[in-house]
Symmetry: C2
Subunit: 314 residues, 2 copies
């Protein structure tokens, strides 16, 4: 089985053929031309795919697409994607007519969760939730080995559940969403605030050295013993863990998989979070422990995740 | 098909035979004797059931039990029920051995949600979440006509997800849980505070008349135009709606069914909540509307819900 996985990003669209074992060979990249409208963009993408398929000399059995926006799984269209200004784009229909194979579209966080469940950190589990800590907080839910997306694919927006009602305004229109406190963007803001308040801290020094307050810096400074950075990290762990506790209490999955830049902190982060969750979990000490793992699929997780939309369960 | 539904409550245990259409005839009630330990209690209950079955002269095909506490669906036991001081009670095994039919146990809010999905307000929908606004806030999740309970039946604790991180302490050990703001208990507390601050309000007057600050009074006073009561109701709608918005964004069910005492306010409540949700929902205006309905099964919903654990999907 050969499934073409397409990972739509804000500046480029990547893709590749993935087999039923989640293995992938060569990939293609199409740098998005922002001057093109959505139909022109899709036409240009299809030309790149045509060339790729000729070069690979493989027949494909289906196409899976992951998009950083909202989709309609019922209609097979991209409902809205702010990065690319795609709106109500019937992407599945267009690709199906051109390639004569079934196509399926999903939100990129959902697709990534399914890929991780099939072939990555979640492959030994039937029930998992993946949380992507990036610009925002993305969520993907796998129940009984199947993706759960809600009506018309418009659920699983875990980043847009409240952590603090009436808190920090969110792009979604609400206030106090989880992603306003636990995304990489949020951590950068928390770090910047700490630097402003503590201009002589080691944290401030490292930020000056790097010319920016990356999320990485605050972990580096905390590990080096900077009390200011440590306080930022502890508060961030508090925000993140409270959001993950909600997932534990609502879904009680076997495992939560973390991905995105912040997840690169690995066990330094998961140990802190696991400790917090164990004692605070509903029904403790009788409730089953929820494992906190780091995603394994890495750079190509988007392509593999998108392809997995067409690969039936393990 | 005849399924015995058993609805365990804090002071009494009710039950009755329910058929595959959700229809029920006579019921029995066993008033719990608090002096009995859990095994004695179960023995006494079985004697009541034995008599009931002889009187009804019906063979049963299974037993479903709903319990106000945590359960282990894997072990078929009640993990912990604070009202009755039941702990690790292997209720399914004991009932299966005595009655020679399969038994299944679940949390009462979960069982009620399944009953409502099969035979009540949710019978035309495949995906629903039921929220019970009582002493606490109970949650039940039905996905694709099946109950979703999480690993070992220890999920679906929607009342124990944060509305306000670090907020009001909750019995579960966390702070700021949804149920601390949206339960009937919470509304009563909110009403009492308003009365204390406004002793000359119509709300205070009604409370004096009734000798207590029931949750009902605040709605009555608000409908009569009391501005103090109106403010309490609007704030309560804000709390409730924000919690329901989380459900919309995470599950995007077709419908949310409200039950419990507060749900008796009917359309007065659902209209306010629906208006709030429509505009605040993630992906608005493209996201599918989530209907807010009131439960229909009424007084015997616990028995029918418990029985529905053994009645396969519609």
């Amino acid at each position: 089985m050969n499934i073409l996985g397409i990972d739509v990003g804000g500046t480029s669209i990547k893709g590749g053929i993935v087999n039923e074992k989640g293995e992938m060979g060569n990939t293609f990249v199409y740098p998005v031309n922002k001057k093109e409208n959505q139909y022109e963009c899709l036409n240009s993408l299809m030309k790149v795919i045509d060339e790729y398929l000729i070069k690979e000399d493989k027949k494909i059995d289906g196409i899976g697409i992951g998009v950083p926006g909202t989709v309609s799984t019922d209609l097979g269209e991209v409902t809205y994607c702010s990065n690319l200004l795609w709106e109500r784009l019937p992407i599945c229909k267009i690709l199906e007519e051109h390639y004569k194979v079934p196509a399926r579209v999903s939100n990129d966080a959902n697709a990534a969760a399914l890929g991780e469940a099939r072939f990555g950190a979640g492959k030994d589990y039937k029930n998992l939730v993946m949380v992507t800590l990036g610009t925002g907080v993305g969520g993907g839910i796998v129940i009984n080995n199947e993706l759960f997306e809600g009506t018309d694919g418009k659920g699983a927006e875990i980043g847009h559940s409240t952590l603090i009602m009436d808190g920090i305004p969110c792009g979604c229109g609400r206030r106090g969403c989880f992603e306003r406190y636990a995304s990489a963007t949020a951590l950068i803001n928390q770090t910047k605030e700490a630097i402003e308040e503590n201009p002589n801290s080691m944290l401030a020094e490292l930020a000056t050295r790097d010319g920016a307050a990356h999320a990485k810096i605050v972990f580096e400074a905390a590990k080096l013993g900077c009390p200011v950075a440590n306080k930022v990290v502890e508060q961030y762990v508090h925000y993140l863990s409270e959001g993950l506790l909600n997932i534990c209490n609502i879904f009680r999955p076997e495992v939560i998989v973390l991905s995105g830049g912040i997840a690169n902190q690995g066990s330094y982060l998961t140990e802190k979070v696991s400790k917090y969750l164990a004692a605070q979990s509903y029904g403790y000490p009788y409730s089953p422990k929820v494992e906190i793992l780091i995603s394994q699929l890495g750079y190509n997780s988007g392509i593999i995740g998108a392809a997995s939309l067409l690969i039936s369960q393990k």
